[in-house]
């Protein structure tokens, strides 16, 4: 097709070349950057400047008011943060535990549900609606909803446990159970996301390998583990990547259910909650920026590892 496209001047012989046409020609010739530049400038200014600023703040003792004079203190904030075994490292641990456990459940459950939905059935529409609703629900509202359900005295969760004879649990208010409870909330809200991605992957698979294996007498489990799962690996990794980035940065439900500092014992204080608290509840901008830079490096590192893994799988 492109071979047939004649030069534009030839397509419009004898056209007057006034200033409007000149502008039009210029715009058409430079449309690549004309189209892309506004959005890139917008995002670039809003990212590059804050990132550079965060980097700068992390090397200063900025605190209190954002307008207060600050002093350059080199890597002191990083040293303080990296040797802080009371808040920083537990927050790293919680962030990774939250993300790892939530993702593990979401991927396994998500794959299970996607397989259930793979072949059409009656009432499919209703199941799809049920999958969609948690996904679009406002996370803060979802947090409030779970606060009531997990309330130790009047919550539905303990009523349910009571019916099967299990003693009541403290859930969100327990020092050891709070993080697990928030992980449960994340699983409830975001497994549907994994289901949708995996289902899109399953639907795009060719049926032939599966059929061939069936003719060869492979049972359902063999077909899943030796045919479907390997073919699905790239999609699974995309799902982990997309969900993982968001899970690492989880803030809304943690702040909505446990408030400042992730609760009075910092039970659910992940890196994002910690950094937010340092910045906006305690105004420790210098330390907060150091935490954020380290957090950012953790996210980039995780993404890089997963992208490498995906390349290995796709080959």
């Amino acid at each position: 097709m492109s071979v047939m496209t004649p030069p534009r001047s030839a397509a419009r012989p004898g056209r007057a070349s006034g200033p409007r046409e000149k502008f039009s020609d210029w715009a058409n010739a430079h449309r690549k950057w004309l189209f892309a530049a506004p959005a890139m400038l917008f995002v670039g200014i809003l990212i590059v400047f804050p990132l550079a600023w965060t980097l700068y703040l992390s090397l200063t003792d900025s605190q209190g008011s954002v307008r207060a004079a600050t002093e350059f203190i080199g890597f002191q904030n990083y040293i303080d943060v990296l040797t802080d075994t009371e808040r920083f490292w537990p927050a790293v641990g919680r962030t990774l535990a939250f993300t790892g456990v939530a993702l593990a459940f979401e991927v396994v459950l998500g794959m299970g549900i996607a397989l259930l939905l793979w072949r059409p059935f009656r009432g499919e529409k209703w199941v799809r609606v049920a999958i969609l609703l948690p996904l679009v629900a406002t996370p803060v509202a979802v947090g409030m909803m779970w606060r009531l359900i997990f309330d130790p005295n009047i919550g539905f969760a303990n009523q349910l446990l009571g019916m099967v004879g299990i003693p009541a649990q403290p859930w969100l208010s327990g020092q050891d159970t709070a993080l697990g409870t928030t992980i449960f909330m994340d699983i409830w809200q975001w497994t549907p996301m994994v289901v949708l991605i995996l289902l899109a992957g399953l639907t795009s698979l060719s049926d032939e390998p599966d059929e061939a294996a069936r003719v060869d007498g492979a049972n359902a489990f063999q077909r899943f583990f030796y045919i479907t799962l390997p073919l699905m690996m790239p999609t699974v990794i995309v799902a982990i990547l997309l969900r993982g980035i968001d899970a690492l940065k989880t803030f809304d439900i943690l702040y909505a259910t446990k408030g400042k500092g992730g609760g009075s014992f910092h039970e659910v204080e992940t890196l994002n909650v910690y950094a937010y608290g340092l910045s906006f509840d305690y105004n420790q901008y210098g330390v907060s920026s150091a935490v954020l830079i380290l957090f950012f490096m953790i996210i980039i590192g995780t993404m890089w590892l997963l992208t490498m893994r995906k390349k290995a799988v796709t080959k």
Binding site: L116, T138, I149, W188
Partner: protein, 294 residues
């Protein structure tokens, strides 16, 4: 070996008809298991939402009475309280306005950008825009807060909209890029043969063909903005407070008014769920955009 030899023959002698793949597979036991599992999944996903809705229709006395979990006399009192006394109509308008304007502006900026990035395969530029999805929001908030408080703009709609665009724009670029990737080039090329300029071809051919893609991107961006909590928590003021922040304020009082809280939570989630029900197809295609490209 005999099995292997038979396979291709079997496959070619009885070509699999297209409708075959639409047939459910498996035995009776699997069917029963499948129905049971699906019922469990639906219950797991919907029961909490139903519980929230029921609690929003109860008086606080009934909420504390575990015997009245399902049987109670419903009341609209909580909704009346939330909407009238707590001024939720204002917050609903704020949320809607911020989501609407930030989505509209992001479409204006994002769609041409996505087009250029798709047609000229500008992968590195795309990466810059997509970085915005990776960076933790808090690291942007500190500098933004500093700049905007110096400009005395914290609490204004402009700032809130700007911050929400920061979420919306990358999302729209991401979705529209994969949409433009899937549109055939031939249409634009033949339009240019017929005398349209490249920009003219984009405007008159590609854009009208992309309405579905833009709807997808717009709806998702609206939902993300509506649900956004952290940016609004820092950057909104008394007059621009959005719904998620308003709900959060609900619990800062000494004792929790559960009925009111659940009514507020329902008021926030219901509009977005209704939108989702009517635009299900678009939401699913947007959330899974680019996920299966490999």
């Amino acid at each position: 070996m005999t099995v292997l030899d038979e396979t291709p023959g079997a496959a070619t002698s009885t070509p699999v008809p297209a409708h075959r793949r639409r047939k459910p597979l498996g035995t009776r036991a699997y069917k029963v298991f499948r129905v049971a599992a699906l019922v469990l999944v639906v219950l797991f996903l919907l029961a909490p939402l139903a519980w929230m809705l029921l609690a929003s229709l109860k008086t606080n006395v009934d909420i504390y009475d575990t015997g009245k979990a399902l049987l109670f006399s419903p009341t609209m009192e909580n909704y009346a309280n939330v909407l009238q006394r707590n001024n939720y109509f204002v917050f609903i308008f704020n949320s809607f306005w911020v989501a609407f304007v930030s989505t509209a502006l992001s479409i204006v900026l994002g769609v041409p950008a996505a087009y250029a990035m798709s047609r000229f395969t500008m992968h590195r530029s795309a990466l810059v825009v997509l970085m915005a999805r990776v960076i933790p929001g808090v690291s942007l908030l500190v500098p933004w807060y500093y700049v905007f408080s110096n400009l005395r703009m914290v609490g204004k709609f402009e700032v809130l909209i700007l911050s929400h665009m920061f979420v919306a724009l990358p999302l729209i670029v991401y979705i529209m890029m994969s949409y433009f990737d899937s549109l055939p080039l031939e249409l634009e090329e033949s339009a240019q043969v017929d005398g349209l300029t490249p920009i003219g071809a984009f405007r008159r051919i590609t854009l009208p063909l992309s309405v579905a893609g833009m709807a997808t991107a717009g709806i998702l961006s609206f939902i993300f903005s509506w649900n956004n909590f952290m940016f609004a928590l820092v950057l909104s003021g008394a007059k621009t407070k959005t719904l998620p922040v308003a709900i959060f304020d609900f619990v800062s009082y000494a004792s929790i008014d559960w009925g009111g809280l659940m009514a507020a939570a329902t008021v926030v989630t219901i509009p977005i769920m209704i939108i989702a029900l009517f635009t299900q197809k678009y939401i699913v295609s947007g959330l899974t955009a680019g996920a299966t490209k490999g």
